[in-house]
């Protein structure tokens, strides 16, 4: 009698393989044998956008949506916030961010630390750079749209969890002439970002940007491991398709064990 639940053996094996490959890749990255992450245009665009904001004398804006600090896209957003806060402190560009209640504390810490590192702690004030409007998706969106109308930011960065509200704030940002950079893994948000953003990071490009910013071996190793995982699953898919075309259901049977 099998100790496994029916249909879960293949699941378990794939999970173990992914687990081990992530661990190995992170170890390799920590030993300095990590792979280089290819340049991502959106990251250069962030620096360009902050420079643009400095020239125009307008603020830069960033938000990760409403997610909690435990969500991977929000963690990627916080890495980008660190970069933006550092650059804004360096170039004296006012920074405005909107966070949900889950990540508010982490955001305040990151921004305060960035200003302190640049030797301008007096420019940071709680409630000035990091704003909270509401936990509700559309209430927050309405607040952000109003903020764009009043403050007219030169750069808007949206990296995190975004859904249908992306069209609303994307258009509101476009109306004030902001350069817009977006990234999300949510399938509902990606097409809306594609039509409203100037630069787009789809899915894991966000995590790759966060990894290339922080140069953290854990994050780099994670990206490597994810590539390995995707290769494995892609190979299974291709073998399965070929097998089905040849009239064999072997892959389906194997994956259903």
């Amino acid at each position: 009698m099998s100790v496994f639940l029916r249909g879960r053996i293949a699941d378990f094996l794939i999970f173990v393989v992914l687990f081990v490959s992530t661990w190995l890749a992170t170890r390799l990255a920590r030993m300095g044998k990590g792979r280089e992450i290819r340049p991502i245009p959106a990251l250069d665009a962030i620096y360009e956008g902050i420079g643009r904001a400095a020239e125009m004398g307008r603020p830069a804006f960033m938000t990760p949506g409403a997610g909690d600090v435990g969500r991977a896209p929000v963690v990627a957003g916080l890495a980008i916030l660190d970069v933006m806060a550092t650059q804004c402190a360096k170039l004296d560009v006012p920074l405005l961010t909107v966070f949900g209640q889950g990540a508010l504390g982490a955001a305040e810490m990151i921004v305060a630390e960035a200003y302190r590192r640049e030797g301008k702690p007096e420019l940071y004030s709680p409630g000035k750079q990091v704003l909270f409007f509401s936990g509700d998706q559309y209430a927050r969106t309405a607040g952000e749209a109003g903020l764009f109308q009043r403050e007219k930011p030169a750069l808007n960065v949206f990296v995190g969890d975004f859904y249908s509200e992306m069209l609303y704030i994307g258009e509101a940002g476009a109306r004030v002439g902001a350069m817009q950079i977006g990234g999300t893994i949510q399938q509902l948000g990606i097409p809306l970002m594609a039509i409203t953003m100037d630069y787009l990071m789809i899915g894991e490009e966000m995590f790759a940007v966060a990894a290339s910013i922080t140069r953290d071996p854990v994050q780099t190793g994670s990206i490597m491991a994810q590539d390995v995982g995707k290769m494995i699953l892609l190979s299974i898919s291709i073998i399965g398709v070929i097998a089905m075309l040849l009239g064999s259901k072997i892959m389906i049977d194997l994956l259903s064990t």
Binding site: Q137, Y138, S164, R175, Q187, L188
Partner: protein
Amino acid sequence: MKKEEGASVTIWSKALSVRPEWFWLIALILIIVPMAVPPRVPFKVNDSTLRIYEYVKKIPDGSVIVSGGLGQWAFIYETSAAFMAFLTQIKNKNVKLIIFPLSTDSLMFEPWAVSVTGFDKVKEYGKDWVVLNYVPGGADIILPAFMTNIKGLCRTDLYGTPLEQIPIFKNVNSYKDITLWVDCGANSIPSLARYVAPYKVPIIGFVHSAYYGMFQPYIAAGQVYEMTNGIRGGGEYEKLVGYTSWNLGTITMDSYQLYSIYILALVIIANVGTQMLKREEKT
């Protein structure tokens, strides 16, 4: 498009710099007029909606249907058309409906939908339908518990009556007693596919158009039986059941007819205008 100083203002440059508020006003008129004077535009019923209608038609007497979805109220408006058509279809069938809300807004919405369709007028509460209490914790926590032990998870219904005293629950306690699960929420299909589908309970989803393409893998994998395609699917379902007291799908199709032509016209103007302006700049 930026105009250089001294450049002549052509009809195309004017067209491309019209204030958005004028576009919005035209859109508003095109949406409202068909609501006031409904033309009842004809449209075909898609295979997916037809499959759902036929499946529900063939549900045996005495079946237990669970309606459980999560989502914000405003998003539920799009799926409400199909959900209300579904309630209208089962209104005259000998089936039992258990409303198990997965979010606070679903808890408000589903009983309201029941009253709008008149379901509660022909069915007896407690015997033919019941609304369970909302249990916080998220779909990931409460769905596995619900599937294995309904009375263990929900002690009472929404009005505080213990489930042991409610006639429906005399013979209903787990997934074995559920014939069909319908989802009228905004984004519940992934959770249902994960926690309800393994128990081989068929799932029918009334989903947004935006999610219709996205959730197709679940149908291909056999985890979800079928889904309606947003408001159009709602309109199709309303047509199949002979229209409902809500009729949102049918009304929207009338407005969408003009709105879609308007969008197409705008895109054509924008593209032609861009090309014409490029030519003018070259010359």
